[in-house]
């Protein structure tokens, strides 16, 4: 801090000033607002806002066949966005984190009987978790880190159960769960469950100056009928979750009810930031898919040739199979880098009843074990021809290997196809994934027969595969409602 140039003030003046500065700084360290001013509401038993939001909450908890839901009056919203920030503050979230977000609906309403001219419109649409009747996040989660409360219908995320695979962000059509880098898990809105339990309103309901957000009880069956039954587009007074730009409500049966007196169809949905969310390449997943599918293909080539066709495996066959195993194992290892909490990866099979990711993991696990067994068998036969292995074992293992490859690859396809995103539909994903496996088969065969062009072709095709998979992820991920199945536009 000291500089050598002479001070324009004398030493005595400087010292006097520094003494005063020290006194002021000391005063700044004292925080005595409570002592100087009286502590108000010290013995308040109820929240002071209670009287404000009581009318915005149902009088009783949901009955049988009902659940809680958000209801948003779009005509009452003035676009102030306090709900987004209040959610952040009252839930103690990370600096950029909020469980509410705003999109805009922009355009013109056509002339009507009451308004002769087309009326310009720019509406804010606030949304949080829709606490769906058939939640995509819950079904997709491989570790059962989601729970739908049987009474309230609240879809709760179990933060300590989460392994940070982010798959729920894919399976939620609205991309509601958000990944927290610092914690390695996703987090999402829990409808302020604890607040509801004691009769308090969720943060966003408390904070809306215009009472545009309320909590209601909705009938589960009626909601399901509205979303999945015969859609009645004419009844726009109860728009439900079918706003322009939103994914089809048939996917997960969202419960949020949006209301407006005006027709909303024809409006264009836009992010408030002006720029769409960046799309992610998901490199660990890209590497995982490419390596497991290539490895599987190479192993399949060996299985077809040495396990079934000629039945006399060579050391070369064993070597190529080992290469295939290396690919599969490498892919599995790469997938771990996708996880926010890799040490919890052991839970991945828990969700097998509903989760295709869980099933993929189990199928790949078994496939990788059988491929190791198969490779060991090949090596044993090649190096110790005298070893008495019963004759059906090798072809049997080869058949099992091939069958498992088909199952695992189909599981991989389903992981993406069930998300409902247009670029990831079955018709698009099956050819992509099968094509990658096929490349592995071709190159594996070339290696087995010792063709000279194989390494060069292999590298070229591998490069193509990586590029294809990068495109696959950037095309399908990212908050892009239009890319989803049934997206209303």
């Amino acid at each position: 801090m000291k500089t050598t140039s002479p001070s324009p003030l004398g030493t005595a003046d400087e010292e006097r000033l520094e003494t005063l500065v020290d006194a002021f700084l000391a005063e700044h360290r004292q925080l005595s607002a409570v002592e100087r001013f009286s502590q108000r509401h010290a013995d308040a038993h109820r929240p002071l806002l209670d009287t404000h939001y009581r009318a915005l909450m149902p009088a009783t908890p949901p009955g049988p066949g009902e659940q809680y839901a958000f209801e948003v009056d779009l005509d009452q919203c003035s676009s102030c966005k306090a709900c987004v920030v209040a959610c952040h503050s009252l839930n103690g979230l990370e600096p950029q984190e909020s469980w509410r977000e705003i999109r805009l609906l922009v355009g013109s309403r056509p002339p009507t009987a009451s308004a002769a001219r087309a009326e310009p419109v720019a509406l804010a649409v606030t949304s949080a978790c829709h606490h769906c009747v058939d939640p995509g996040c819950l079904k997709g989660c491989p570790v059962q880190a989601y729970d739908k409360d049987p009474i309230t219908g609240i879809v709760r995320h179990l933060d300590d159960q989460c392994i940070g695979c982010s798959y729920c962000i894919f399976t939620c059509p609205y991309e509601v769960p958000k990944f927290s880098k610092s914690r390695g898990i996703v987090r999402k809105c829990d409808l302020c469950q604890g607040r509801l339990e004691v009769g308090e309103a969720p943060a966003c309901v408390q904070a809306c100056p215009n009472e545009a957000i309320r909590i209601t009880r909705v009938s589960v069956n009626a909601t399901t009928d509205r979303c999945r039954g015969e859609a009645s587009d004419s009844d726009r007074s109860e728009a439900g979750c079918a706003l322009p730009g939103m994914p089809s409500a048939a996917l997960t049966v969202p419960t949020t009810v949006y209301r407006s007196r005006h027709p909303l169809s024809g409006l264009e949905s836009r992010p408030v930031s002006g720029t769409p969310a960046p799309r992610e390449a998901h490199w660990p997943l890209t590497v995982m898919l490419v390596l497991t599918q290539w490895g599987g293909g190479v192993l399949a080539a060996v299985a077809l040739k040495a396990g079934l066709a000629d039945g006399t495996p060579t050391a070369r066959d064993a070597g190529v199979a080992a290469l295939g195993c290396l690919g599969v194992q490498g892919g599995l290892i790469a997938s771990v880098f996708h996880l926010g909490r890799p040490l919890q990866a052991w839970r991945i099979g828990l969700g097998w009843r509903t989760s295709w990711l869980s099933r993929e993991a189990i199928a790949l696990g078994i496939f990788s074990a059988v491929s190791l067994l198969f490779t060991a068998l090949l090596a044993a036969v090649a190096w110790f021809p005298a070893w008495p292995i019963p004759s059906p074992v090798l072809p049997g293992t080869a058949v099992a290997l091939l069958a498992l490859l088909v199952v695992a690859t189909l599981a991989q396809v389903q992981v993406y196809a069930v998300t409902g995103r247009v670029p990831w539909r079955l018709g698009r994903t099956i050819p992509r994934f099968a094509g990658t496996v096929w490349m592995g088969v071709v190159v594996g065969y070339g290696l087995v027969v010792g063709s000279n062009w194989t390494p060069a072709l292999g590298l070229l095709l591998m490069g193509l595969s990586v590029a294809e998979r990068w495109q696959f992820f950037t095309g399908g991920s990212g908050a892009n409602a239009e890319s989803r199945d049934g997206g209303v536009s």
């Binding site: 500065v21 700084l25 676009s79 408030v272």
Partner: protein, 753 residues
Amino acid sequence: MTFPEIPWRSWDGPLTADLARVSGGFGLGQVPARLKPDGTTGLICGFCATGCGLTAHLVDGEAVNLSPDPAFPVNLGMACPKGWEALAPLDAPDRATTPWLRNPVTGEMEPVPWSRALGAFVSRMKSVQQKWGPHAIAFLSTGQICTEEMALLGALFKFGMGGLHCDSNTRQCMATAHVAYKQSLGFDAPPYTYADFEESDCLVFVGSNPAVAHPILWQRVLRNRRQPEILVLDPRRTETAMAATLHVPLAPKSDLTLLYGLAAALIQRGAVDRSFIEAHTRGFPEFEAFVREFTPERVCAEARISGELFETLVTRIATRARVSYWWTMGVNQGHESTRTAQAIINLALMTGQIGRPGTGANSITGQCNAMGSRLFSNVTNLFGGRDFGNPADRAEVESLLRLPTGTVPTENSWAYDRIVDGIESGAIRGLWVIATNSSHSWIQQRRFNELLGRLEFLVVQDLYTTTETAQRADLLLPAAGWAEKEGTFINSERRLGLVKRIRRAPGQALSDFHIFRLVAEAWGCADLLQEWRTPEAVFELLKRLSRGRPCDITGIDGYRAIDALGGIQWPFSQAMREAVLDSASDALLETLSETRVAEIRERRLFADGRFHTPDGRAVFHYSPPQPVPEPTDDQYPWVLLTGRGTSSQWHTNTRTSKSAVLRQLYPENCYVEIHPEDAVRIGLISGGRVLVRSRRAELVADACITPVVQPGQVFIPMHYRELNPLVLSVVDPHSRQPSYKFCAVDLEALPPA
């Protein structure tokens, strides 16, 4: 023997606990368990002049969280995004934590101790004064610091340092309202209280978008249970216009003509209050004759609205019992803004719509303490709305403040634009910029920034080292921010509210109050300011200065009373105080009963029809409308409008850009709103960009194709720094407030980035 249970599903654990909520006590409801307070206290938000009460959640006296105060009469438990996030800007990494002095040899800023910084301040400023005269130093201040700080600065500069020329950024937002009220009503006295939003039958918003610019005032409008007409005069279909019962999309800057036309039409219908005019106003007959030429045909042609729409507007105003008029920057920032504001005041006067619940010609203020600045900054007016040119006023202030005779300057300061011109002419050589970002916000920022280079000494006093202005400083003084100091603000409805210290300022940063005291010490004029020791001591001086003035606050006991009553509106004189006390033993305001509190909580002015002019009559002011200074032509065929972007942005974004959650609520890049027809006309595609060119500068902005702007007009929010150089440099002749709202531009479509 039992094995530990395998945790197939973890319903609990550290990550779950992270988000646990517990009852916060103190009437808060549930709060994050990590942030559970051991006490709370209230303070006024430091962004806009709505003046919302916030509850700070305290742990060991330090704020860990904030929520809106349900017991505060202004905001009733609500806040806009800026209020909710008000603590975040204090934690920014670019806070100034030590004074910085530019090394004359290297040209680099170097950290220095306070004593060195003050030494440099005094020696360089005094050297400027010795070479170029005492008036060669100037300051540009703000509407964002506490009244006591503004007052100390004004006293220090004008009484202690021998300076004269000073102004504040309120010139950019409220100068027009100030001058309009002063000329028309005799004092800068916005007459309303926020309850008027709820009490009115017909609210006329002129150039005002409270839904976005003042969301909590809009909340009060929506609480109106009288089924009010909401009439919005605005070229854009703003969020407010969309919620209105009638939107009048008048041509930009045709407002004055339209308002005169309204007056003429109301007179024509006999919808005026002759007895009120007779008893309480001056100049109506001449005004009546003047507006006669503003026929509906002329008005509709100039405002480009249909005769039918105009008739509807007139009818709705004429037929409702309680009509209130509200204006904001759409009026204040125009080339004939003072007359426009007065045209609104004239309407209220001639219809007798003032002084009763739900009425008034009401200016909605911009900054949190623009109103404090207007009354007590000693800049444009001598303390308490007095006149520097009036010998009696000067003598009174000298006596009240125990100053030697002749201490108070006899001339007025130059306005902001003249100070800038003074830098160009060489009259101003040393400049002190306090809590404002002129390098971004003042008209023609490029010229302004070029002129800063000509100064011999530029001092910037700010929270951050990174503002456009701070980066040009020779000396940067690190200031404590809102909530790191104490003092009072005055809001739009004249309510004094309290700011408290609930955060420790970082490093060596000190409150503006303490910095001014240090400058006084170093300058050698501290003796003159002996009474100005603490903010609350200065508040006592302000009470003394207000005695007998329209803004009399002598009945306010002190900070504790302001805190206990949820703010107190001026005037609150000693006599008014005695009238509401229950008994002689009831010596403290804060012990008042609920009913007494309710009585003094919401008060409006002029119920008796007596105004602050010498004869007690309000005056009609008017002049013929002038053409816009830069009309569109073949070369520049579009009108560029400017204004606030979103409720999560504030002015030059110095503070609002510090909050990660606020940043997600507005576009990062500068954008331009353009009508779909115009987009087609210039060949703009969705996701494209637009080159916007005025006679002075050009910018590239993301295109936002939207019908909320009319064809032939484009809109760019003021928060993006590249906008300012395009804007025309014109000021209103009465208020000298810049016109930011209208200039001619050309557009060119560019492909997406």
